[in-house]
Symmetry: C2
Subunit: 383 residues, 2 copies
């Protein structure tokens, strides 16, 4: 089913052309003597002002006469001057850089979060330095250390479980820190949280309201997914339900993992359905009716998508025999066949909140702020 036609363009590499290439790049628009990089004082000399004035034109234009600024800008243009923020950062102790440590960008929510975080900060003149912790082999402490050695003005950290050395470093750094996408009993500083346990509980409640009493959960092995999964299972049991399976999926979540997990569940699933109700397959388990369907909560939409695909392949009717709820509200969830129910958390909102919190603190507002971002269950045909 998956032949591969190789139309490779494996041409041999173009012949090396020597590094001279770089030097003779397009006709220098503004020929400069020698290779010496242009610096602030060069601009100052050309403009006939003091270096400090050039600095002001760049960082506080309102403190300079329009005429002077004009001359300086002309010189900047003429020389092709690119400011050195490394030097500026050392001198001012402000790098105008905010670090963000998130596990992955593969998850649309994080992608959205980072995107919005970046947008808000960039508008205020800050650049975002992104670090992905998810794939990394480094310990979190090592990562945080590496990040802090670049002296960011502030830091966003996804997750809120941090070991003592990490917390110590963060405290010593004495910069605003915002933890996001998690709950923390004792946040390091500011927090834009998502109550993952509440998500699991809410999904269980949702399924119970629909009349389900048989449950299953596929949860990735990361902290927050587990939290959701465990809360789901616990709430399901507390409500008198039976949890047929709590499958742990190795992170990161994939569609393939969802398929596999469902395949393993297939016998249990079928048997349970028969045992409990004996209803002919295809019977509608309407909301409120104590139907025979198993209610499955997946810790990621990717997993849910895979599970649905496998269910379809095996003739398991959805939602009649298997009801599914995912997490993340990926675009996928609406386009899937059938579209499936999922939990939506607005990454955009988290990102904007987090950025605003940090900016306020950088502006001198001393409040330590914390919010809990809401989530909602988006109901679709799978449940």
């Amino acid at each position: 089913m998956e032949g591969a036609i190789d139309s490779s363009q494996s041409r041999p590499p173009v012949k090396p052309q020597g590094a001279v290439q770089l030097q003779r790049a397009s006709q220098p628009l503004h020929p400069r003597q020698g290779r010496r990089p242009v610096k602030l004082s060069d601009v100052a000399a050309v403009a006939g002002v003091a270096p400090m004035t050039v600095s002001r034109v760049l960082n506080a234009p309102e403190r300079v006469t329009a005429a002077t600024a004009q001359r300086v800008r002309a010189a900047i243009e003429q020389l092709g001057y690119v400011p050195n923020l490394v030097a500026g950062g050392l001198s001012s102790r402000r790098t105008r850089m905010v670090a963000a440590i998130v596990p992955t960008m593969a998850h649309p929510m994080f992608a959205e979060l980072v995107q919005n975080f970046t947008d808000v900060l960039r508008a205020q003149g800050y650049e975002v330095m992104l670090s992905l912790s998810g794939y990394d082999t480094m310990s979190e402490a090592a990562l945080v250390r590496a990040v802090l050695s670049r002296r960011p003005d502030a830091l966003l950290l996804a997750g809120a479980r941090h070991d003592a050395p990490t917390r110590q470093m963060l405290a010593d750094a004495a910069i605003p820190v915002v933890e996001v996408f998690d709950v923390a009993r004792r946040p390091i500083d500011m927090l834009v949280g998502v109550d993952h346990a509440a998500v699991g509980t809410a999904v269980a409640a949702y399924f119970r309201a629909k009349g389900h009493s048989l449950f299953a959960v596929f949860a990735a092995s990361d902290t927050r997914a587990r939290l959701r999964g465990e809360a789901f299972a616990q709430a399901a049991r507390r409500g008198g339900g039976t949890v047929l399976a709590e499958t742990v999926i190795p992170a990161p979540s994939t569609i393939a993992a969802g398929r596999t997990a469902l395949r393993a569940l297939l016998p249990v699933l079928t048997q349970a359905v028969l045992t409990q109700a004996g209803a002919p397959s295809g019977t509608q388990a309407g909301p409120g009716a104590n139907g025979p369907a198993v209610a499955l909560f997946c810790s990621s939409d990717l997993v849910a998508f895979g599970a649905l695909a496998e269910a379809r392949a095996n003739g398991v009717a959805v939602p009649e025999r298997l009801a599914v709820c995912g997490f993340g509200d990926f675009e996928l969830s609406a386009a899937s066949e059938p579209p499936f129910t999922t939990v939506s958390v607005e990454g955009a909102r988290i990102g904007r909140h987090a950025a605003t919190f940090l900016l306020d603190r950088l502006d001198g507002v001393e409040d330590v702020r914390r919010v809990q971002v809401p989530f909602r269950i988006v109901e679709r045909a799978s449940s």
Copy 2:
């Protein structure tokens, strides 16, 4: 079909607790007098050596006696010293930072590219500073300028169409630059290319070999997607085929856009099928047979996925009446129903190549290197 149950946890924000919070973070493991940040000379003083020696322990341990190094490391540990790479960078003119400018991380190929690029570089002591250009309102020149002002030691740039000011800045920066994922008639420096026109041509050839003579293409409005789409259409016509539609999709590509595009194509599609062959729907258009099916090339797997979903919803048989090929080899393409044919380019490979090129140059190898990365058509049930 899409009710939304709101189980918001819109609790009021936890009450502000004052910024003191940060200061009294977990019992300081290593109490330090005052708040003054620890610097190299502090470590030196504690270890009883010159600052330079501490620097050596950190950057060239082999040039220091084991015993001395031991004492220094103890002092570092004791003081919780975090080196200041901003100062180090200014002094040494090496920031140990490599910048990467890519349009998006939403595309798995770029995600993979960046991931591998980062891995290879990190192993050699470089950090990657990532900038997403795709969403950005800034001009490319402005973005590059902002990036260069942080003085990266090297730069990766996705795409190879750059305006004069950008090229000038890059040349002036005098750092290794690698352009990726594009062809360039005149690369700035090094190149790890993908021949997008060749992709379009190859897909057209593939469809023709399967006996198709009716074609359509959905291409996003970004440069490279267009290149693929145009080459596809051109090759299709050159082969004597008819191109029923060349739909431009506003970037970024989404599943929804794919659905919409197919919906618009529906009348044309149906009519064309009837006109050309009059074959009863459902007839198998086998490879080599001059079947009635329309062969659709989508510039992204997301678009292809959407198109397939819409086709299914409208009872268009795949591949009997509509053959589909995507681009990107997203995980989606294999999990879709039916799984669909797509073009695979290994982002991982591009990332590793690019990193290696840059590292070599940073190590003093002067060769300007260029490679073309191969692609392949992964055949699945949709064609």
